[in-house]
């Protein structure tokens, strides 16, 4: 899959022209369909981007563009993790709740110690641990990922609400806000972190054995096991990785406003992340999909949100448009 992305239609074309010079048309056709199947997300992205630019001149404004990136960075990081779980054939519904729980505990740690480093480490540990528990339930407990993470979703939110007594808690170390509110050249820090995470997850999935095993597991778990892959460990690694990425997102979310609301932060993040992954072309049942697909899926969702805001579409209708786009995206991908 990931290699097909760099595939070489040219090689095929050469073979054909030697053998069958009269196959030009079907060749062009097959090349077009190859292009579509490999790059449909990017093509969709370009179409939506151009449409947005035509419909509203303010869209192309540099500040607006950077704003979109800033707005998608948190969901983007979560969606990267979601891509990995979905490639492995599972799903993680607990990302939004875990994000809040991590946020709440991070603020507590920050206020208790005054150390940003301790706060960050706490966040990473709590997030990874929640993910690890998910992995344990799925891999060793043989609980369907949907159920296991549904349980975690309810439990994590509940603990967060309990700790924060249902309200928000704010950080008392003001320099903590620098994490999400600084910038480098023109880019905000969260955007840079999102890009960096994208690159890291891409490398992990395409250049390391972990990534290879995730694809194998999602495509055919029994064959993966019979290939002497420690399937259980890979699964636990997958959910732990999601937890880790969620905690990175949680740090950004908390740092941006220097507070986190146990009741309203992170709500429906799992749905937005899943939407981005699906728009990005990853197959629900696993084994097939790309990190870069999710990257563009996230951008597509961001542009849509931005457009609707610029055009004063009622916030109550925005969910409708988003839903529509997700379904259209899936319908188009079915055509392969």
């Amino acid at each position: 899959m990931q290699l097909a992305q760099k595939g070489r239609p040219i090689k095929l074309a050469n073979v054909n022209t030697i053998k069958q010079p009269n196959q030009e048309t079907s060749n062009t056709k097959s090349r077009l369909s190859w292009l579509w199947s490999e790059y449909s997300v990017i093509i969709a992205f370009l179409v939506i981007f151009i449409a947005a630019a035509v419909m509203n001149p303010r869209f192309l404004d540099m500040n607006n563009q950077l704003n979109i990136l800033m707005q998608v960075s948190i969901i983007g990081i979560v969606a990267l993790g979601m891509t990995v779980v979905m490639l492995s054939g599972g799903i993680d519904l607990s990302v939004g709740s875990v994000l809040v729980l991590v946020g709440v505990i991070t603020v507590l740690a920050l206020n208790a110690t005054g150390s940003i480093l301790v706060a960050i480490l706490t966040a990473l540990v709590v997030g990874s641990f929640a993910g690890f528990l998910n992995g344990l339930m799925v891999a060793k407990g043989r609980i369907a990922s949907f159920i296991a993470t549904l349980g975690m979703m309810a439990a994590a939110r509940s603990i967060a609400l309990y700790i924060a007594e249902g309200g928000s808690i704010s950080g008392e170390v003001s320099s903590f806000t620098a994490i999400a509110n600084s910038d480098l050249w023109i880019f905000d820090f969260p955007v840079i972190i999102f890009f960096a995470m994208t690159a890291l997850v891409y490398i992990l999935m395409h250049k390391t054995r972990f990534g290879r095993y995730v694809y194998a597991l999602g495509s055919n778990e029994k064959a993966a096991l019979l290939s002497a892959i420690r399937v259980d460990r890979v699964k636990m690694g997958v959910y732990t990785l999601v937890g880790l990425l969620v905690s990175v997102a949680a740090i950004i979310e908390t740092s941006r406003l220097n507070s986190i609301s146990s009741s309203s932060s992170g709500v429906q993040y799992e749905l937005d992340a899943i939407a981005a992954v699906i728009i990005g072309g990853t197959r629900m049942t696993g084994g097939r999909g790309k990190i870069m697909g999710t990257f563009f899926g996230v951008l597509i969702l961001g542009i849509l949100n931005n457009m609707m805001n610029l055009m004063n579409v009622s916030p109550h209708l925005q969910g409708f448009v988003k839903g529509l786009i997700i379904i259209i995206a899936v319908v188009f991908q079915k055509r392969e």
């Binding site: 290699l3 097909a4 054909n16 054995r209 290879r212 495509s219 290939s227």
Partner: protein, 524 residues
């Protein structure tokens, strides 16, 4: 045994017109051409099937048989050429149209839904309903029963399909074809998962249907079966028609030569040579309901064969050995070390490799590329500081591509695009790269054409000559006779006989495999 009742077929099938049979064929396909992505797979292929004829369609994997049948079944459209049914020019633009023309396609992977009942499967997609729209269950059961009785099959129409033997599932598909009043039934490798007596039952059924005017196109690699049941044949090679005629006038060698383009030896592949030390020793291995008291030893350089009928427990036995099944009692010693294997990973560490049966379910990862399937179990060989080196991986693949003669233009395509034989070679390459001392092959030539079979046999034999210890599990007695030094026969989870490879006869193997002879400690 089943047969007496079947003569009544004309009840629901049009009676065969004696004169029409010889003068007008039921099906004619003329000069069919088809290319995929510019690569031609069928070059002016023609096929004629008379009414009441069983026609063998032969050829190696990738010869174009499936494409031709998919065109007939309305799955693919030909680029050129015409199809006539009963002399009428027809367009099979979708599978439904094809079915309406009386053509039914029974695929190798049976299309029955295990969680539905027999009658529900029979009427799937064409359920009988009353005016309100509710299902007419009793009527469907009655019709199902009628057909089953005529086929001499004793199944309750309300039985769940998951509770039936494989051969019955096949019978359900045939019954379904008859329900739709099919005049031509295409069967793709129908006997691969059937035991001997089930094959007999199928053939009797086919012969009787033939009498009532049903034609068959029979795709198989098993030439003996073809000789037994077919009337005429057509051979394809590389998308071209290379021979057609009546089976009676041909001997099997000629047909085999046509298929592969060269003659294939029927002799034993393996030479007797002296073996090294014992590498694997199994003592009193038992697993509740699967196998019991299994004892054997395997030496370096030796090829052991395990054969028997479906359900003899050999697959489960070696799945235990490989750590896929964890519950067993008894001892496994590898190189004199007592081992407890509870995960395939540990099996590999201990020196075992397994090329499993049912490639699609157990061996290939269909979304991974050919190269990545090859390297899956030995990624460590291609890593440098934790990162996979694409180039080393690719170069290794090309090494095996040459060594095993794997035919693939672009190894970056997903493995499911290759033919069965080439897929199997990739899986073998995967285990050669892992380089374990003992390699177990479960049904290594399942669904593989003659030419590739010979290549795989040669590979296995040369592995043993290089000092590997090999175990072959196969339901085909001639296969183990050909390539094994020693043969174990299993029946209902127990070893019933052990033969020296060159002394075993197929008949004798069969009598131990069917349980008609038992001699637990027979040493040949």
């Amino acid at each position: 045994m089943i047969v007496e009742t079947i003569i009544v077929f004309p009840l629901f099938l049009k009676r065969r017109d004696e004169s029409a049979m010889t003068t007008s064929p039921f099906l004619t396909m003329n000069n069919i051409e088809k290319a995929f992505n510019g690569v031609p797979v069928l070059k002016k292929v023609s096929l004629t099937v008379a009414e009441g004829e069983i026609h063998a369609l032969l050829g190696e994997n990738g010869a174009g048989k499936s494409t031709l049948m998919n065109i007939l079944g309305g799955v693919h459209q030909p680029d050129n050429g015409s199809i006539h049914i009963n002399g009428q020019d027809v367009k099979m633009s979708n599978p439904r149209l094809s079915q309406e023309q009386g053509v039914s396609f029974i695929h190798q992977e049976l299309n029955v839904v295990a969680d539905l009942r027999v009658y529900e499967n029979m009427f799937l997609g064409s359920e009988l309903r009353n005016k309100v729209g509710f299902l007419k269950v009793e009527e469907m059961c009655r019709q199902t029963n009628e057909i089953l009785v005529k086929l001499g099959v004793d199944i309750n129409p309300k039985e769940y399909v998951r509770n039936l033997e494989t051969s019955y599932k096949q019978l359900i598909e045939i019954s379904k074809a008859l329900l739709h009043k099919s005049k031509l039934i295409i069967m793709d490798e129908p006997t691969t998962s059937l035991a001997e007596h089930e094959v007999k039952r199928l053939f009797e059924l086919m012969r009787n249907l033939k009498k009532s005017g049903v034609s068959f196109i029979y795709i198989s690699h098993k030439l003996k079966e073809i000789k037994e049941v077919c009337d005429t044949y057509t051979v394809l090679r590389d998308g071209e028609l290379v021979g057609t005629g009546s089976i009676e006038n041909e001997n099997l060698d000629t047909i085999t030569k046509l298929m592969v383009g060269k003659s294939i030896s029927q002799e034993r592949f393996v030479q007797n040579h002296s073996f090294g030390p014992v590498v694997l020793e199994v003592k009193n291995l038992s697993s509740q309901g699967l196998y019991k008291n299994v004892n054997f030893t395997l030496r370096k350089g030796e090829i052991l064969g395990f054969t028997g009928l479906a359900g003899d427990g050999r697959t489960e036995l070696f799945e235990s050995l490989f750590g896929y099944r964890k519950k067993y009692t008894g001892e496994i010693k590898i190189k004199n070390q007592l081992v407890k294997i509870d995960h395939p990973r540990k099996a590999v560490r201990a020196g075992l490799g397994l090329v499993p049966k049912d490639r699609k379910e157990n061996a290939i990862i269909k979304d991974l590329s050919v190269i990545h399937n090859m390297s899956l179990s030995s990624i460590g060989h291609f890593e440098k500081s934790g990162f996979i080196q694409d180039r080393q991986e690719r170069e290794k693949f090309y090494y095996y591509k040459d060594k095993l003669n794997i035919k693939v233009h672009n190894p970056r395509i997903t493995i499911d695009k290759l033919s069965g034989g080439n897929q199997q070679k990739v899986i073998i390459a995967k285990w050669l790269e892992v380089d374990t001392d003992i390699i177990i092959f479960d049904n290594p030539t399942q669904g593989i054409d003659v030419g590739a079979k010979q290549e795989i046999y040669q590979q296995i034999v040369s592995l043993a000559e290089q000092g590997k210890a090999v175990i072959i599990l196969s339901s085909e007695a001639p296969e183990v006779q050909k390539i094994c030094h020693h043969i174990y026969v299993m029946y209902q989870g127990e070893i019933t006989a052990r033969f020296k490879g060159e002394q075993a006869t197929e008949d004798e193997i069969m009598s131990y495999a069917t349980g008609s002879k038992r001699e637990a400690d027979k040493i040949g």
